[in-house]
């Protein structure tokens, strides 16, 4: 495959005088597990917002499998296979876990301009949703209202929702945020299983997880990518050490 699965070409974003994304270019070959790390306020979440279409870029473009998707909205990008999760848990709390995922299946296939027939009973939607739930280890919790799931389970549910959309490129915005050690372990194992099955761009604070999972790591500081490469190389990069890893107390 010649075209990268996801390519960022010279993305920029400024809020007034504050430059949040500064000439970011990045190419992810098909199937790569890529992580972006950076200190707080480095602009990681803004970058994910730009890639997914939540926030428009000032200049630059986003390419998905060789197609320019810069002008597309968030839902349109999802239909092209660019799917994201959120740093702050974002689910439909009043719906069952199964229905949360079934909606993602519904969005992907067939029309939602159907006014008759009980959506909740559509086996075709529910079967695929169940598959995704089992994949993330929530099969037994399908009937529970999503709002009643534990924090870690909600994070798993978010990944199940994303998987049900059949992403070509999956953007994970700090999936481990706020999780305890046991919950983290479950999620890391889950990401491990997803490795290679799709292109993944992970934003994460947990260094251990990043270096265990990612094939390549990029370091974002003040909106600029200061280093990009295999985990070992990035870890030893002196600029990275001073800019970032040093203050973690390595």
């Amino acid at each position: 495959m010649a075209e990268p699965a996801l390519e960022l070409r010279d993305l920029n974003k400024a809020y007034g005088a504050l430059t949040v994304t500064d000439h970011v270019s990045l190419a992810l070959p098909d199937g790569e597990f890529h992580a972006i790390i950076g200190p707080n306020g480095a602009g990681k979440t803004t970058l994910i917002h730009q890639i997914s279409g939540v926030v428009p870029s000032d200049t630059g473009s986003v390419w998905l499998g060789g197609h320019d998707v810069t002008g597309l909205s968030l839902p349109d990008r999802v239909h092209r296979g660019l799917v994201r999760s959120f740093q702050i848990t974002s689910i439909l709390p009043g719906f069952s876990a199964l229905e949360n995922v079934a909606l993602a299946v519904q969005a992907r296939e067939g029309s939602s301009f159907r006014f008759f027939g009980r959506a909740r009973d559509e086996a075709r939607l529910n079967d695929q949703a169940m598959q995704a739930l089992e994949e993330v280890g929530l099969g037994k919790r399908a009937g529970i209202r999503a709002g009643l799931l534990s924090h870690g389970e909600k994070r798993q549910l978010e990944i199940a929702i994303a998987l049900a959309a059949r992403p070509r490129v999956l953007l994970l915005d700090e999936p481990l945020a706020g999780t305890g050690p046991e919950e983290s372990a479950v999620l890391i194992a889950l990401m491990q299983r997803l490795r290679g099955r799709m292109t993944i761009l992970l934003i994460e604070h947990d260094m251990e997880a990043v270096f265990a999972l990612a094939e390549r790591v990029s370091v974002l500081v003040y909106g600029r990518i200061i280093a990009s490469g295999p985990p070992a190389a990035v870890r030893d990069d002196p600029e990275v050490r001073t800019a970032y890893l040093g203050e973690e107390g390595g």
Binding site: P75, V78, H79, L92, F95, S112, F115, A119, D121, E122
Partner: protein, 325 residues
């Protein structure tokens, strides 16, 4: 969440409220025949017409969290379609009704396309503004009575016959319309489309990230609600045999919201109960004093404070031990 499996032994228990409601409504004409027939029939007919309007509002307000403060405009549009066509000698419902619905749908499409670009309090304000626009348009229609409104030559004909002339026949026609509207809304809220609308109420950002361009779903929902309310307007004009700008005052829009909230947001039969409670209380209390709103206001405050989920919430707590969330 309310579980509604297709059929089963629990059907009557589960659907007790709507079944009881419609049985009672079907029996009203028989009771009315024993006493003040025309008064009772016209009162309950009015209740059912407003129930249709409240139902249509509940569809977007209760299920979609879209607080439309201009919903009465559709009552007026439906009513004026009857009035204006009648004034030109077109008195058959087969023409009037489709026109009433089409005008309402078109108005909903245009105003919805603009309103739905805003959120929250701005959405409330812009729908209010469109409602006022419709109101002042009606006031300015000097040829059709302007401020004073216009009296209709009579009820709409059906196939050229006066089938709706008797109060009882009209009553059942309205009951049928209410049943149809209720069935349609029930179907919509559990359908694929309804699930998208309900999802948007819960978390619009999540819905967009799942891949739903919400604007077009909400717009279609808005058009359905507006069209349904246009049906209520058509019926209201026929019931009163009179249309005036008063149909679409902003106070009327507010009353529709009160009916939905009073009955219980997002329950559909709650909207019917809310409309009934509102109009019957109005009728009853205004018998004591012209300042009936002095009593109604505090009552509404109490319902909102203490009966979470409106009257339907209270019924559910009493009947089902508060089982459903």
């Amino acid at each position: 969440m309310i579980m509604l499996p297709e059929n089963g032994p629990g059907f009557l228990k589960r659907e007790a409220v709507p079944v009881l409601l419609f049985v009672l409504l079907a029996l009203v004409p028989f009771v009315a025949a024993l006493g003040a027939e025309s008064y009772l029939l016209s009162l309950v007919t009015r209740v059912m017409i407003f129930a249709i309007a409240a139902l249509s509002l509940d569809l977007i307000l209760g299920y979609g969290a879209l607080v439309s403060f201009g919903h009465a405009a559709f009552l007026g549009l439906g009513g004026y379609a009857v009035g204006i066509l009648s004034a030109h000698g077109q008195t058959d419902a087969l023409v009037q009704l489709p026109v009433a619905l089409a005008v309402s749908a078109l108005f909903a499409l245009i105003t919805g396309a603009l309103s739905l670009r805003t959120k929250g309090v701005y959405f409330i304000m812009i729908t209010l503004a469109f409602g006022q626009m419709a109101f002042f348009l009606a006031v300015s229609l000097a040829a059709y009575g302007g401020d004073d409104g216009m009296t209709l030559p009579g009820r709409s004909k059906l196939f050229g016959f006066d089938l709706l002339k008797s109060d009882r026949a009209f009553y059942y026609a309205v009951l049928l319309a209410l049943l149809g509207a209720y069935g349609l809304c029930r179907s919509i809220v559990v359908s694929r489309f309804g699930r998208v609308i309900r999802g948007a109420r819960e978390n619009p950002q999540r819905m967009a990230a799942i891949g739903f361009p919400l604007f077009r779903y909400q717009l279609v929902g808005y058009v359905i609600a507006g069209t349904l309310c246009g049906l209520a307007g058509f019926l209201l004009a026929n019931q009163a045999e009179f249309v005036s700008p008063a149909y679409m005052t902003w106070q009327r829009s507010g009353e529709l919201i009160v009916m939905v909230v009073l009955g219980g947001l997002g329950t559909l039969h709650g909207a019917i109960i809310g409309a009934a409670a509102f109009l019957l209380l109005e009728e009853w209390l205004s018998g004591f004093t012209e300042h009936w709103k002095m009593i109604f206001g505090p009552f509404l405050v109490l319902v909102v404070l203490f009966a979470r989920g409106g009257l339907m919430g209270a019924i559910r707590r009493i009947g089902g031990g508060g089982g459903h969330g």
